[in-house]
């Protein structure tokens, strides 16, 4: 496989939250067109990794570095990271009462692309994307994530990802709480974005990986990647759990 340009390079990353170290020396490089899956149990630091890459202010990098498109990330604010092409699909997307999905999507697409979009062009783009994700137009007049089911929230995340066309897509447990139909739709969305982006999929389960084929699978324990491999590693982790890895520690 021909390697695409480097999108993300994490070296020896140590991260603390309120003085407690969560990531303890994590190293990972993602190139354009690669899909990486990180698996691990609750508390392994998977969501911390996603949040710290996106720039969450509660996380402090105490050692190591993150480079995005070969530039150090620590100088960029969260919104600048978004405008530079980074996207995080949230495990628990925030509710924004009173803000309609349609308005939100247009404003956010405009913010990220830094262009004014004509109502007409945007409507067409939106309609196509929603069609692919099998979303009804009634979504657009609802308030952002307000009263949404788990599946609806995840589909809205994927819709945003399609519209924002990221260069780096971070998907934090986007598969959790989805039925099989929704899971397939989410997978379809990821597969559409993947060829042009670096993808980092954080998951507990192997089942999303039946529909999105990862190039690399990483097992994470206690703030570090302890084992990397191909798709077969995901199967093994699903079947055997993580104990066999802990013994190596």
């Amino acid at each position: 496989m021909k390697m695409g340009e480097e999108v993300l390079r994490i070296e020896n990353l140590h991260v603390s939250v309120e003085g407690v170290e969560i990531l303890k020396g994590l190293t990972l490089t993602i190139h354009k067109g690669e899909i990486h899956a990180i698996m691990g149990r609750n508390g392994a630091g998977k969501s911390t990794l996603a949040n710290v890459i996106m720039g969450h202010p509660a996380y402090e990098i105490t050692q190591g570095s993150i480079h995005y498109m070969s530039k150090p990330l620590d100088e960029l604010e969260v919104f600048e990271r978004a405008r530079a092409g980074m996207f995080l699909s949230f495990q628990y997307p925030a509710v924004i009462p009173g803000v309609q999905v349609g308005t939100f999507l247009k404003k956010s697409t405009q913010s990220v692309r830094q262009v004014e979009l004509s109502a007409r062009d945007f409507r067409k783009e939106l309609k196509d994307a929603m069609g692919m994700l099998n979303m009804d137009s009634s979504f657009l007049s609802r308030y952002v994530n307000d009263g949404f089911s788990g599946g609806e929230k995840k589909r809205l995340e994927i819709l945003q990802m399609l519209l924002l066309q990221p260069k780096l897509a971070l998907l934090d447990e986007t598969d959790s709480g989805l039925d099989i139909d929704a899971l397939k739709i989410v997978a379809q969305g990821i597969n559409m974005v993947a060829p042009l982006a670096g993808c980092l999929i954080i998951t507990h389960y192997q089942r999303l990986l039946d529909h999105v084929k990862p190039d690399y699978v990483h097992a994470m324990i206690d703030g570090r990647i302890v084992e990397s491999g191909g798709p077969e590693l995901a199967v093994k982790l699903e079947e055997q759990g993580y104990e066999w890895l802990e013994q190596h520690q």
Partner: protein, 468 residues
């Protein structure tokens, strides 16, 4: 503009002012003679002069309200206020006849444009009197009367005499007395039986002069089975000395009628805005107050409805935005005086940069008013640690069949919301603007679209100053 001046003006977009344009300006201060002179200048019938004089004496004797912001009220220097200022010889029907600078002011405020696009009629008041007034011919042909209040009194003295002061008597409170004594301008509307005015009619109130007092008086009567939507907007220049705006609005909804009264007051932050708004709703009628308070130094305003006829309904949706140096003391009062009457009150407030917003509400159910329902929801959003929000609800329930609900909440913008929005490309201030607009959405969706868009823009501008 010097740095200092810009600091004072801030983001207030309407803070410009024109050279003063007085054809008649009264000396500062108030006396019985001033009251009589205003009445004489307007050639009013004697009964009106007498009402004014009685109200003036009541104003003198009546103590300041004991609630709201007493210390701030006591700062009002009544002797420094100009009580009457005529800036145009007459009310024109064509914008081209309005004096040039005044016309330009209203152009900048977008009034003529709005009139062409979506309004059924417009009154533009500048200082004490209307300078422009117009109503669509089709409405006039249906018998709809829409005039400035001075013309209303001249042309329909009997209707005015029948209803003036019946909903808000001068003895109601100190500022109602002041308004009755020196009122000038405002709107007079009568909608005949069964006529539905489909397009909103608008009044716009502009204070231009320094230390000005504006005391408009509005009376709207919707006859049986009719309906009307009245919209009002208000702005003033930013001066270092204070102006006083003290209006009285009286609404009368006859059997089966519907009145909606929408306000977005965006006074500059040197204006005391002390307004009495009340409506009487007869059998199966509806009165809706949609009341937005964005500007002013101190606002004290509690739109009220007296539900006097069986099955009548009141709706009060209000928002208040209190920034630095501002106190919005707003709320709603609903009196259930007849059986099976219903009311909904929704109040939303935002406080920022040390601003203070208070909800002050009164809900009354009298013993004979059985089967009433009322729902009150008050939500406050605090944008920082040094801002303040208070709730002062009062309930007097004299009938045990009443079904009442009251919910109140105080919230802050959460870090999760900000992070989520910023991860979608919004800067921190854009994210806050979005959250604030969303918070006010239940209010803005009730406004005509053009107003809603304008208000959202305004709030986004206000957010720019909120990040350190």
């Amino acid at each position: 503009m010097s740095e200092q001046a810009r600091d004072a003006v801030g983001d207030y977009r309407y803070g410009f002012h024109d050279p003063e344009h007085a054809t008649i300006r009264f000396d500062k201060g108030l006396s019985e003679q001033v009251v009589r002179d205003i009445s004489a200048l307007k050639n009013e019938p004697e009964w009106m002069t007498e009402v004014r004089v009685k109200a003036y004496h009541h104003f003198n004797e009546r103590p300041m309200p004991k609630w709201g912001n007493c210390s701030e009220l006591n700062n009002i220097k009544f002797d420094d206020v100009t009580y009457f200022l005529r800036s145009s010889k007459q009310t024109e029907k064509n914008w081209d006849d309005v004096p040039e600078d005044i016309k330009n002011t209203f152009n900048r405020l977008g009034i003529p444009e709005a009139e062409q696009k979506w309004l059924g009629g417009v009154t533009a008041q500048y200082e004490s009197e209307a300078v422009y007034h117009s109503i669509r011919e089709d409405l006039e042909a249906q018998g709809v009367i829409f005039l400035d209040m001075d013309s209303g009194l001249k042309q329909y003295p009997d209707i005015v005499k029948t209803y003036f002061g019946t909903v808000v008597p001068y003895s109601d409170n100190k500022f109602a007395a002041l308004n009755t004594a020196v009122w000038s301008g405002g709107s007079f509307i009568y909608v005949p039986k069964g006529v539905h005015v489909e397009m909103p009619v608008q009044a716009y109130f502009r204070i231009n002069a320094k230390n000005m007092g504006q005391f408009e008086r509005t009376l709207i009567i919707a006859d049986e089975g009719s309906s009307i939507h009245y919209v009002e907007g208000c702005t003033a220049p930013t001066y270092s000395t204070d102006s006083l705006h003290s209006a009285v609005v009286e609404l009368i909804a006859m059997k089966g009628a519907k009145i909606r009264y929408s306000t977005v007051q965006n006074w500059s932050s040197n204006v005391y805005n002390l307004v009495t708004k009340r409506g009487v709703a007869y059998e199966n009628s509806t009165i809706e107050w949609v009341d937005g308070n964005i500007g002013s130094k101190l606002t004290m305003k509690y739109p009220s409805v007296l539900l006097r006829g069986e099955g009548a309904h009141a709706e009060v949706i209000s928002v208040a935005y209190a920034g630095e140096g501002q106190h919005q003391d707003a709320g709603a009062k609903v009196h259930h005086l007849a059986p099976n009457t219903t009311s909904n009150i929704l109040s939303k407030s935002i406080s920022k940069n040390g601003g203070r917003s208070s909800y002050r509400g009164m809900l009354q159910v009298t013993p004979k008013a059985s089967g009433c329902r009322s729902k009150i929801v008050c939500d406050a959003l605090l944008l920082d640690e040094h801002s303040r929000s208070d709730t002062y609800p009062t309930m007097e329930v004299g009938n045990s069949t009443a079904d009442l609900e009251h919910e109140a909440s105080v919230s802050k913008i959460s870090g999760d919301q900000l992070f989520y929005l910023m991860s979608r490309g919004f800067s921190e201030k854009e994210a806050m603007g979005l959250i604030v607009n969303g918070f006010f959405e239940p209010f803005t969706r009730e406004l005509p679209m053009e107003y809603a868009v304008e208000l959202n823009k305004l709030l986004e501008l206000e957010m720019e100053g909120s990040i350190g």
